[in-house]
């Protein structure tokens, strides 16, 4: 073992910053106190962050519900709106019922002449 025996033993090649050990006790005590902060107060900020994320998601979802239908084309909008499509379907059923009555043009003209409809009413209907 002659080659390394006692050759490098005495001189320590490693150094520390000046006065490193003087401040170490306080650093260690600070780290211990920081580490001892109860788990509850560490969870609280995490819960807060989670609540903020959830609230943001709800807001983005709400905005999406309003903005996306407006951006769609008018045809899709009618199909997308349930109350409007119900009205269209109801009118279609009424026209189909008239076809079933098998009325001639003459019957229709007679029916209209019996009604007291004046020009003002027609304009108002428009």
């Amino acid at each position: 073992m002659g080659m390394i025996e006692d050759k490098y033993k005495d001189k320590n090649p490693f150094k520390t910053p000046d006065r490193y050990f003087e401040g170490l006790t306080d650093k260690v005590m600070d780290k211990i106190k920081e580490d001892e902060i109860p788990a509850k107060s560490k969870i609280a900020p995490m819960f807060k962050t989670f609540m903020w994320m959830a609230a943001s998601f709800v807001i983005i979802f709400g905005i999406g519900r309003i903005v996306i239908p407006l951006a769609m084309d008018p045809t899709q909008r009618i199909q997308g709106s349930s109350s409007q499509s119900l009205v269209i379907e109801k009118e279609q059923v009424q026209y189909d019922e008239l076809d079933d009555l098998d009325l001639s043009d003459e019957d229709i003209i007679n029916y209209l002449s019996e009604q007291s409809v004046d020009d003002f009413d027609l304009i108002a209907e428009l």
């Binding site: 073992m1 080659m3 390394i4 490098y8 033993k9 001189k11 320590n12 090649p13 490693f14 150094k15 520390t16 910053p17 490193y20 050990f21 170490l24 006790t25 650093k27 260690v28 005590m29 780290k31 211990i32 580490d35």
Partner: protein
């Protein structure tokens, strides 16, 4: 003040901080140099030493005198150092994937290494050793610890330690001889 008295102080909540400060002051330098020889860079040593003391604080409430306080703390410091290096390896620090690469890079980059080229060569040769041999060599060669003390800290038989040290010396000599050629 003896370790036993300090531990008694620690068990009393009103004097716990004061007792622990005494423990830090009494052991900080010895533990620092033990850790420094394992991880090599000052900054890593500072991290590991603080983690060691946090572990000591947590474990001291349940400390039993199966081993001395000093032996127990040395064991924690050794484990923390090795875990720190393995954790660094897992996170992909250093130029390669091995602890050896991490240690080489620690040695080259450490602004608090003040040795000459021969001392650097010795450190490079130590880095090449397997983990256990490296620790045994440092404790025996630099810290001049007794095999019985090292045996308690590393929980390894004296015979196995002697063999580890012998192999370590042979390998270091061989590495140094090759580097001189």
């Amino acid at each position: 003040m003896q370790d036993k008295e300090i531990i008694e102080m620690f068990s009393d909540a009103s004097t716990r901080d004061e007792a622990f400060k005494l423990i830090v002051q009494n052991y900080q330098e010895r533990l620092y140099w033990h850790i420094r020889k394992i991880v090599l860079s000052h900054h890593d040593t500072d991290d590991v030493l603080q983690n060691t003391f946090v572990k000591v604080w947590k474990g001291l409430k349940n400390f039993r005198w199966d081993a001395g306080l000093y032996t127990w703390m040395y064991r924690i410091a050794t484990n923390e150092s090795l875990n720190y290096l393995n954790d660094k390896k897992r996170r992909g620090f250093g130029s390669g994937d091995d602890v050896e690469d991490i240690l080489l890079s620690n040695l080259e980059a450490d602004e608090y290494f003040d040795g000459d080229e021969i001392q650097k060569q010795l450190q490079r040769a130590i880095i090449k050793l397997p983990e256990k041999q490296r620790i045994v060599f440092n404790m025996k060669y630099f810290d001049d610890m007794k095999y019985s003390e090292i045996s308690e800290i590393l929980e390894t038989s004296v015979g196995a330690l002697k063999a580890s040290y012998h192999h370590a010396v042979k390998k270091i000599e061989e590495t140094l001889r090759l580097s001189e050629v």
